[in-house]
């Protein structure tokens, strides 16, 4: 029994030793892509949310249309459209990773904007009225009163969206971006092992998302400890 276990451990050690570089490189790309995907996704998302809450229909309608289309079509289709379409339309050669970031963040921004909008609209109308009655402008009231309160409501859903983004980013492997999933496939092909590389990839994805989830949870606790509203 012990011999059989030793045998498997040796095999796995050899496997890891031989291929660990693939996983590390892939993880780097996945982290890089997710990080910028989140940053741009949130930035564009805030912008879209503000557009969608505008009173002017020529600002509101394009934002609504964008959100509906992005949420209503597969990320895979969006990725292909950007990967092949953007260089064709603009005539510019983009680095693959940049196209991946664009696709992922455009997709995420639609979800983020809906999370932000719902968070802002969940704040009682009386808060805005009280702020305005004290002479604050609309933007001051948003900045000091509405957004700080909305942020707390938004955080759990936003954290969830970040986790989704990390996992969904695996899809960029289909256009040949060397992310963790792509490298995993490479290892499967090279080692003739169909299963083990997937276990390694799953563990790495899980470590990333679990860390992220803990970080967001900590932030949530810190924020709710900063005041005594319960």
């Amino acid at each position: 029994m012990a011999n059989i276990m030793m045998y498997y451990i040796t095999i796995y050690m050899e496997f890891i030793q031989k291929y660990y570089k693939f996983f590390i490189n892939g993880t780097k790309i996945t982290l890089f892509l997710s990080f910028f995907g989140v940053i741009f996704g949130v930035a564009i998302g805030i912008f879209l949310a503000l557009m969608k809450m505008s009173k002017k229909s020529f600002i509101r309608v394009p934002a609504s249309a964008y959100i509906e289309v992005v949420r209503g079509t597969p990320l895979l289709v969006q990725l292909f459209m950007i990967y092949y379409g953007l260089p064709m339309l603009t005539g510019i050669e983009f680095p693959d990773i940049l196209l991946g970031i664009i696709a992922v963040s455009f997709n995420s921004s639609a979800y983020v904007s809906e999370i932000i909008r719902a968070g802002i609209q969940s704040i009682d109308k009386g808060q805005m009225e009280a702020a305005r009655s004290l002479g604050m402008t609309h933007s001051m009231a948003m900045r000091y009163i509405v957004i700080p309160q909305a942020f707390k409501n938004i955080l759990p859903a936003l954290g969830n969206e970040f986790i989704v983004l990390v996992k969904e980013s695996a899809i960029v492997s289909v256009v040949g971006i060397y992310d963790l999933m792509y490298q995993t496939d490479t290892v499967r092909g090279n080692s003739y092992k169909p299963f083990a590389p997937l276990v390694v990839a799953a563990i790495i994805y899980f470590i990333i998302t679990f860390t992220l989830s803990k970080l967001v949870g900590n932030l949530e606790r810190r924020l709710s400890a900063s005041d005594s509203r319960n």
């Binding site: 009682d124 009386g126 808060q127 009225e129 009280a130 702020a131 305005r132 009655s133 004290l134 002479g135 604050m136 402008t137 001051m140 000091y144 009163i145 700080p148 309160q149 707390k152 005041d227 005594s228 509203r229 319960n230």
Partner: protein, 240 residues
């Protein structure tokens, strides 16, 4: 101080205010009474443009606030408002609630704003709550702080939108006491309320509204002891 001319307000097909003319003078305490849905709260909210009137004009201290060329934020600084639901900012301490607007809108020094806040808190007997959060306070305390918050901007007029309607009965008195003190200091006040005792005691003028119109107005004595219009009689007969 506030001249209202032919004020109309509709929500869709619902005509809530039907041609209100009213003149509120400096130092007056005008109490607006009337049944639910009579448009009294809407009228009050029109005075500082929380509701935008469909037509008509409101002139406050010589400035037409219904004219979009004039900056309504500037005028709102001089009109304090107290809400039924208090609307304190829950993510800020009492002191921050009171000082936020003086600091951000009036560009006051923080120390000065805090001094004003402490003075106001002293006046309402809540100086020990300066660093508490609104959720640690009772309804009556919240509303007194909401009044202090509005006073911190040193307004020329205070608008009260049913300030005691969301309070437990035993807390109504403490809020009314603060309002009475304010009235005796000569503050111009417009109060929408169901507290007939307060109207009798403090009002310089009582306005009875029904169906989006001012039906009758006069001194508390005239309205409560000798109402002329049958709708006023009917209403007072039910609430007194």
């Amino acid at each position: 101080m506030i001249h209202v001319t032919n004020l109309n307000k509709s929500f869709g097909s619902l005509h809530v205010l039907k041609g209100i003319d009213e003149h509120i003078k400096k130092g007056e305490v005008v109490v607006i009474i009337g049944p639910s849905g009579s448009g009294k709260s809407t009228f009050l909210r029109c005075l500082n443009l929380l509701e935008y009137p469909t037509s008509g004009e409101i002139v406050f201290e010589g400035v037409s606030i219904t004219d979009s060329k004039n900056d309504v934020n500037k005028q709102r600084e001089k009109m304090g408002m107290v809400f039924q639901q208090f609307n304190l900012f829950p993510h800020m301490t009492v002191s921050e609630n009171i000082t936020l607007s003086p600091i951000k809108v009036k560009k006051m020094e923080k120390e000065e704003a805090q001094k004003i806040a402490m003075n106001l808190l002293n006046r309402i007997g809540l100086e020990d709550k300066a660093h508490a959060y609104p959720n640690q306070l009772s309804g009556g305390q919240k509303q007194r702080i909401a009044i202090a918050r509005a006073l911190a901007m040193s307004p020329d007029v205070m608008l009260f939108d049913e300030p005691t309607s969301a309070l437990d009965p035993e807390m109504v008195g403490e809020v009314l006491d603060v309002m009475k003190e304010l009235a005796s200091d000569g503050m111009t006040m417009v109060v929408v309320t169901h507290e007939m005792g307060f109207a009798k005691e403090v009002a310089s003028r009582v306005v009875f509204m029904d169906g989006g119109q001012i039906v009758e107005e006069g001194s508390p004595k005239e309205i409560f002891e000798n109402p002329k219009h049958p709708r006023t009689k009917d209403f007072l007969g039910k609430v007194l």
